[in-house]
Amino acid sequence: MCGTCRAVLFAVVVVIAGCAAFVALLTTRLERMAAAVGVVGSALSAHALAFSGPAAAAVLLVSTVAMMAAVLGAVAVLEVDARPQRRLQFWKLGLLVPLVAVVVLVGEPLDGGTLVAGGRATAIAVLTLGVATVAVPLLVRRTQGGSPPNGDP
């Protein structure tokens, strides 16, 4: 696999992980959290299949399926889906920005400093998360402010 393909694949996995982090931190429903983690595990498995081999990919995929099957089974047994919806707390997204910055600072030296393309992809993900942290609450507030209080169109 060429270097550009590797960089693109890694960027796709980083974006998927970032989006799944959004969902897992924002949603109030456990099945959506479990689904987000399942998507992350599948992306990690694809990444491991491309870079490390089928054995590593199988380990990650089997672990993901077993973990999420246990969680979704418990959710189905408890029927926690019937809980009322709470307000979304967008301030949780602010945790992601320093988190990603710390991870980049720690992860780059651990990987030997040879991963320029991956570092750029991570920097793009940091910028995307930062912009979305500001933009998503503004968009939602504007949308909610334009509709009547009872939700009728």
Partner: protein, 89 residues
């Protein structure tokens, strides 16, 4: 490529989930994500055997937490039924 950074990011998100949510099932999801991140770090550094160990441990912990959540829920339900019977005399 930066498997360590990506894995550490997932571990950080898992820690955020564990801190922000206070239910056993959410903890199970967070532990699962953290173990996946650590397993990815191990895979990225060529330690598939370590990744297997982390994955098996994570699965065991997640199953235990899910079973504990179900047990607590059922116990509370039984307590609730007992309270109703006591109120009804």
């Amino acid at each position: 490529m930066t498997s360590t950074a990506l894995g550490l990011f997932l571990v950080g998100v898992a820690l955020a989930i564990l801190i922000l949510r206070r239910s056993l099932l959410a903890s199970a999801v967070g532990v699962g994500q953290g173990c996946l991140g650590l397993a990815h770090v191990a895979v990225g550094r060529g330690r598939v055997d370590l990744a297997v160990a982390i994955g098996v441990t994570g699965v065991a912990i997640v199953i235990s937490l899910a079973a504990a959540a179900v047990a607590v829920h059922r116990r509370r339900g039984i307590d609730h039924v007992d309270e109703l019977r006591e109120l009804q005399g």
